[in-house]
């Protein structure tokens, strides 16, 4: 298994345990592919992920429509059950198509699971040797059902063995069980995958109608995964938030390749997949697509359509761009739009840049959509992300416009102008010599050039760095580029935060507020600044507790 583990290494965050300086401005985004996630999160099995690597509970169809399959025929898989060199620990999810368990690599010393061990995970292919084991039982099925299940497994394995990328879920191994003591498991196929923390769908469910924090980063990562997948000559076939998994470091990965198809035809224009799909993510042409024994024709533009829906959902907190309470209503709205009887009405919260991008992804005819390949979309995203100063996308809009567009003052990514202002000293409150200080840094070069403390260039401070950085978690005080703040201590493992240039970090500093914020009950004297908001590297103790 060293082969898979070795390959996995490429995808694991190289910066484990080495809190390097985040790179600001001008970062070549392709670098991010190599580093995976926030630099400062130990990938060594932090916390206990309670989610899995295989598409949540919901990719029912890919497992296929056999009945009586898993239930009844396959008993519960006991703790300690061995699959190759993995051992079942906890059940994760159950579906009509099979079951997912958490597994542990028995060749790894459990002690390596401790965060202190730091790099425990990197050598083994998963944090602390933890993996997700997806059981696809085949016994008790009619031959044809078993065939179809085998096909699902075959697609996953075929794809998984070829595609290794930090934005694609890695298939570590696949095992076919022989005779075993658990009834119904003889001949089952077990897919061994990386363990994820949650899925994009989980984030959307929790978003409650508000844009996801770090929406632009998540979408960029999804674009990266999709562009890579298409570059390899494959179509995902079932792209949806359930199949975008969120790793422990907060990075997104595409998963669930049970419907992935390799492109064929003389120019590699299309593939064929079983006639399955998630209604809300199907392009309009799919509803009229003819079917033959190869299946239904699928083109890369189908994934691009799904991406358009996902972009809208990430900004609108889960809402489809098409109106309707039921998926049949939304699917019929898709047809009305595709036939030109209804306009595309995107939610106002979607920032201009992403709105244009989503509109291109959602062009009604697949021939029109074909002009917008995943690659070209990714280029556009990167162009804006790198701050090329594109006049259309910038100050008001684009990646930076999270706060503006949502009307929320959580301007983590404020846009606009900045001030070289140091209130720490200018008001005469000179710090004690022992106090460490840092200087606020704004990754937006336009903001760095300004000195008028424009609200659009203001940056926020968090109340609690361990919960998502949203409006409710931001203090009233704003800071601007160049401000000097007194630092009390640092913390390595907060919520990962990315800046406009793509630098990411989960390190936070507790800083003293220049003026305590008094409310009826409390007086707040400190708040938290994300590490990406400073280029200083103050030597401060770790925060207690």
């Amino acid at each position: 298994m060293s082969g898979a583990a070795g390959k996995y290494d490429e995808t694991v965050d190289g910066g484990t345990g080495e809190p390097g300086e985040p790179v600001h401005g001008g970062t070549d985004r392709t670098d991010r592919d190599g580093t995976g996630g926030p630099d400062h999160i130990g990938t060594g099995g932090t916390g206990s992920p309670d989610h899995i690597g295989t598409g949540g509970t919901d990719h029912g169809g890919t497992g296929e429509s056999g009945r009586g399959r898993a239930d009844g025929t396959a008993g519960r898989i006991p703790r300690g059950f061995r699959v190759g060199r993995w051992e079942v620990t906890e059940p994760i999810a159950d579906g009509g198509w099979g079951r997912v368990y958490e597994g542990r690599d028995t060749t790894v010393d459990p002690a390596a699971d401790q965060p202190e061990a730091g790099e425990g995970g990197t050598g083994t292919g998963a944090a602390g040797g933890r993996v997700a084991l997806k059981f696809l039982p085949t016994s008790g099925l009619a031959p044809r059902q078993a065939e179809r299940l085998a096909e699902t497994a075959r697609r996953e394995i075929e794809f998984g063995s070829r595609a290794r990328h930090p934005r694609l879920m890695t298939l570590l191994d696949s095992v076919v069980l022989g005779d075993c003591e658990v009834p119904g498991l003889d001949g089952a196929v077990v897919l061994v995958m990386e363990r994820a923390e949650s899925s994009l769908q989980d984030l959307l469910d929790a978003a409650d109608g508000t844009p996801l924090p770090e929406a632009d980063r998540l979408l960029t990562e999804i674009c990266e995964g999709l562009a890579h997948l298409h570059r390899l000559g494959w179509v995902h076939g079932d792209l949806k938030p359930d199949n975008v998994l969120i790793m422990a470091d907060g990075s997104a990965r595409l998963s669930d390749f049970g419907l992935a198809a390799e492109l064929e035809g003389t120019r590699g224009t299309h593939g064929y997949i079983p006639p399955l799909g998630s209604p809300d993510y199907l392009p309009p042409e799919r509803w009229r697509a003819p079917l033959d024994e190869r299946g239904v024709l699928v083109r890369p533009t189908a994934d691009v359509w799904a991406l358009g829906v996902i972009i809208h959902q990430v900004w609108s907190g889960g809402a489809s761009p098409f109106p309707g309470a039921t998926f049949t209503a939304r699917a019929s709205a898709v047809q009305e739009y595709a036939e030109g009887r209804a306009p595309l009405r995107l939610h106002v919260v979607v920032p201009e840049f992403w709105r244009v991008l989503a509109t291109d992804c959602l062009l009604p005819a697949h021939t029109e959509r074909a002009a917008h390949t995943a690659e070209s979309l990714l280029e556009r995203v990167r162009a804006v992300g790198q701050g090329d100063g594109s006049p259309v996308a910038r100050p008001r809009t684009g990646l930076r416009a999270v706060a503006v567009a949502t009307g929320a003052a959580l301007a983590l990514f404020g846009a606009g102008g900045a001030a070289w202002w140091q209130w720490g000293t200018s008001d005469g409150a000179s710090p004690k010599p022992s106090e460490a200080r840092l200087r606020v840094y704004n990754a937006d070069d336009k903001c760095r050039a300004r000195t008028d403390r424009h609200p659009l260039c203001s940056l926020g401070l968090a109340i609690d760095p361990t919960v998502p950085y949203v409006l409710a978690n931001v203090v009233d005080t704003r800071v601007w580029h160049g401000d000097a703040l007194v630092v009390e201590c640092g913390m390595e493992r907060g919520v990962p935060v990315a800046d406009e240039a793509g630098a990411r970090s989960s390190r936070w500093y507790r800083v003293r507020l220049p003026t305590p914020e008094k409310s009826a009950k409390t007086v707040r004297t400190t708040a938290w600044l994300p590490d990406v908001r400073t280029e200083s590297n103050p030597s401060v103790p770790a925060c207690a507790g």
């Binding site: 919901d58 990719h59 029912g60 169809g61 890919t62 296929e64 429509s65 056999g66 009945r67 009586g68 399959r69 579906g95 009509g96 198509w97 009619a142 044809r144 059902q145 179809r148 769908q201 079932d238 949806k240 938030p241 359930d242 419907l259 079983p274 006639p275 399955l276 799909g277 998630s278 209604p279 809300d280 199907l282 799919r286 509803w287 009229r288 697509a289 003819p290 079917l291 033959d292 024994e293 299946g295 239904v296 489809s320 309707g324 039921t326 998926f327 049949t328 209503a329 939304r330 699917a331 019929s332 709205a333 898709v334 047809q335 009305e336 036939e339 009887r341 209804a342």
Partner: protein, 266 residues
Amino acid sequence: MSGILIHLPSAHRTEPTTTRRLGPGEAARFGRGTKAHPVELLLPDPAVSRLAGEIRVTEDHWQLSNYSTTHSYLVENPEGAGEYLRVPPRRSGAPIPFEFARVVLPTRGSTVSFQVFAPDHVYLDADDPGGAWGTRTLNAYSLDETATYFLVLVALCEPRLRDESAVSVPTTPQVVERIRPHPALTRLTARAVNAHIDYLAEQKLRVRGPQDVGAAGSGARRTGKREAVVGVALRFGLVREEHLALLPSRAPGAPLPERARPGGHR
């Protein structure tokens, strides 16, 4: 979501029936029509109002508005063993739940009627009911397992389900003979079976088969269509071994090799 199909009877016996497709969100008015106010669906019977009503496609079904101030319209389910609903005068947008419907307008003496098919009705996957559909991976070709067309499909698939080596697909007369013992289908005709096969091939499964490349005669075309329908239905598990139980049991002593009980052997 592809909308609905409306089959209007011909005004004269010599003319074929006209078929009209309405996409999601589209509407069509029906009635006798006038030069000043033409209607999309013409019912040239003196007893029908000039503007008698309207059909509008909504989601996977359709709505019927009754513009008459005096007459109720009936919507029958031809497969529903007498199932029908009444749309009273001036009712606006009554939702019609039937996949197959016949709209009946009262006239003196006989009745005027036309058929509306709604092939978009969605059925949950058998093994995974409930849950959030929008994110669920569904079979995009869902069939009503209680419909006559499904029984026709099972009959077509039966030889291959029972015995892999049998590659032949039953002919229309064989299908008629096979499912006629079913108590609800004693009056099934070959024409009806052909219509069901066409509906399956064109509206439900949308098979891409020999009929698309322009076969010679209509007989050959239908054979190709039948084979394509069976191939797709079996390949993607739309018809499975357990569905054989839907077919009426064979008459005792029937001179056919398949004596096994429904449910299949092997």
